[in-house]
Symmetry: C2
Subunit: 401 residues, 2 copies
């Protein structure tokens, strides 16, 4: 009879190897990161050892998008997808392990986010009666039995069981990777949605404020794609925004959206700033006789101003940040970066993840490696001030192969 | 920072308290058992401390039956049901704990089977291309955060990830509860489906043979219910079968079904012996001008003969059993019990679970309490000879609150 595997923070001299597996809502690929973690003064520090991405097979990606459509995605489909996605995640983990050269038995845990198929947090006033719930698929036992490594999965359910939104979870990684004794930092991600994590100097986890500020690239991408009939998918380096002219009247209309003035914790997504939003914006632009690039410039300015307003409303009253650390695709859009630079006081540094030694592309996968490790150590993984949960609880279920 | 909870077989002097939660395909109620386990010579012995059943709320039961219908049950419905069923299971656990009087912190683990919503094992030749998969709902973190006790759930997925059918799992409990140094035993459950576990004297887990023999009460119940227009739901004590006359010609036709001659491992269910089967049988009875009770007697004889044939074909070649231990509703059907008695050699004892100190109604819940405990101890939970898995693997994912 095998005993239970034991792990605590003093195990292995406080050094841990962990893998994180992540796939986002775009369902392009599974990101896989292998990181080495050590603990200094209660904080986990990491070194990225290996990173890889594995594309989804076309037929599985198509099946996932079918399943996204409520009323179309069936139970049997979800049940099969759980095992099929598990196999794709297992493949990503295996490829990562092989290319890293590290022996399997030296890796303590795999934290696997899985693929979100459904996410309905509490507080949706547009729905009458529903049970807040969330579903990430990618069967952990499939990954664990292929790799021989314990797998932690299902990170969002426990936060929701504790009354939280099940999101955002990455601010915990931001805290461990970026928080500083003397510097107050904002970690600003500009993906489809823009989100920030405020880390006051010498602060604890309880001091972290994190939320979605509003659209990041989602609206800009939608405009560019629609105006170009799909030939361009995003505004490379902000070229089109630079050519256009910000329309203050349109911008004022867009800034009135109730989401922006709502106090955190708050999260948003495709439901609010997706296809419908872009379609309406294109209509507005037409009515106001604006050029395509004017609308793109105005939408880009919306991203900048909503981020800056959020700082002024919700963060700076607690203390100005000394550094804003940009990540995500938006960090490569010069229009957005210049705009933020203009709004920030001159003594606030605008940095990138990379300048602080963090691979921005790998950060989410690193985050789930860390969350997997925390689960194995019995340490809570949610930040109640960020998710709205009643209390900090451990996240994830463990499958020991 | 909290350390990981540790548990091995020498913890707590080798004494453990575990809760099992179970709901079957009839979706009537959640059975909850609290048992005290000790280990003697590698086998877990149990004492049942408390047992209770909690009915499903009507609206959740209705939602589950809607979700059963493929193409009707949607992904969002499954996602919500996971949390709703979790709440029902949590309530059952809380009621059990309260009535037991045992303090929560003295209970090591809750093993929660959950509610099976979908189960498609490998080897279904009637389906062209599919991914073997299984889905049990009842969110573990909901149960764990309500009770403060670690919850193990999702017992069937890992066996399937290892190539098995994900069923049957209860023979492992049969082995620990009933196996004997000197006596070869068959544990015969007659529920809707009849299944047996063969435990050779002084045998190891590898020697266990377990499979579904065929219909138990499912066909008899279906006939009685249909003939009485729903006024009777089952043949109480076998009264109607005793009044009828077995028709040998009809019996011979029924015995020809390919399932009965197929070698184990094998499982069956409502797909084969459900409503369609009963409808066809009623038609045959009409054509052959048999009385209702004749058809019921013949169907009852089918249960008896398929059980006895299975013993002769697949079990007794390995050694005659000294004891057959009956459980399930069929153990109260005198026609079935008498019929088995007639077929067995006079020196084979026919006993009940209760005569050996095991509450037959609570057995499945006790089984999942044990499986939950095994998971926490890192001990495999499947029997490859019973499920068809490539190897023995730990079953279940652990959520530590």
């Amino acid at each position: 009879m095998d005993g239970m595997r034991n792990l605590d923070i003093s195990s292995n001299g406080g050094e841990f190897l962990a893998i994180g597996l992540m796939s986002g809502t775009s369902v392009d690929c599974v990101d896989a990161a292998l990181a080495h973690f050590t603990i200094h003064e209660g904080k986990f520090r990491h070194q990225l050892l290996e990173f890889t991405s594995v594309n989804y097979p076309k037929e599985i990606r198509a099946k996932i998008f079918t399943a996204f459509q409520d009323g179309v995605g069936s139970l049997s489909m979800a049940c099969e997808l759980n095992f099929e996605i598990g196999a794709v995640f297992a493949k990503a983990a295996q490829r990562l392990i092989n290319s890293s050269g590290f022996p399997r038995h030296s890796i303590h845990v795999i934290g696997s986010h899985g693929q979100t198929l459904y996410h309905q947090p509490p507080g949706n006033k547009s729905r009458k009666k529903y049970t807040p719930s969330t579903l990430q698929l990618g069967e952990a036992s499939v990954i664990a039995l292929k790799t021989g490594i314990p797998v932690v999965s299902d990170f969002r359910t426990a936060d929701m069981a504790a009354g939280g939104q099940g999101a955002p979870l990455i601010p915990l990684a931001d805290y461990h990777l970026f928080s500083h004794e003397k510097k107050t930092r904002i970690i600003q991600n500009i993906g489809g949605i823009a989100n920030c994590a405020y880390l006051p100097a010498n602060g604890s986890l309880d001091d972290v404020i994190a939320f979605d500020t509003g659209p990041g690239n989602m609206v800009i991408d939608g405009l560019v794609s629609s105006y170009s009939n799909g030939r361009e998918l995003y505004d490379k380096r902000g070229t089109r925004a630079f050519k256009g002219k910000i329309n203050e009247k349109l911008l004022a209309i867009l800034l009135k959206d109730a989401y922006f003035s709502k106090s955190p914790p708050k999260t948003t997504g495709r439901e609010l700033f997706g296809e419908n939003y872009v379609r309406n914006l294109i209509e507005l632009g037409k009515k106001m006789k604006l050029s395509h690039d004017d609308v793109i410039a105005t939408a880009s300015q919306l991203t900048i101003e909503t981020i800056m307003q959020a700082y002024k409303r919700f963060l700076f009253p607690r203390g100005i940040a000394g550094e804003v650390i940009l990540g995500g695709g938006g960090a490569r859009n010069r229009f957005l970066v210049n705009g933020m630079r203009t709004h920030l006081q001159p003594d606030v540094k605008l940095l990138t993840h990379e300048s602080l030694g963090v691979n921005s592309k790998a950060k989410e996968a690193i985050g789930f490696a860390l969350l997997g490790l925390l689960c194995l150590l019995g340490i809570p993984g949610n930040i109640p001030s960020a998710t709205g949960a009643r209390k900090a609880v451990p996240l994830g279920k463990i499958y020991y192969p």
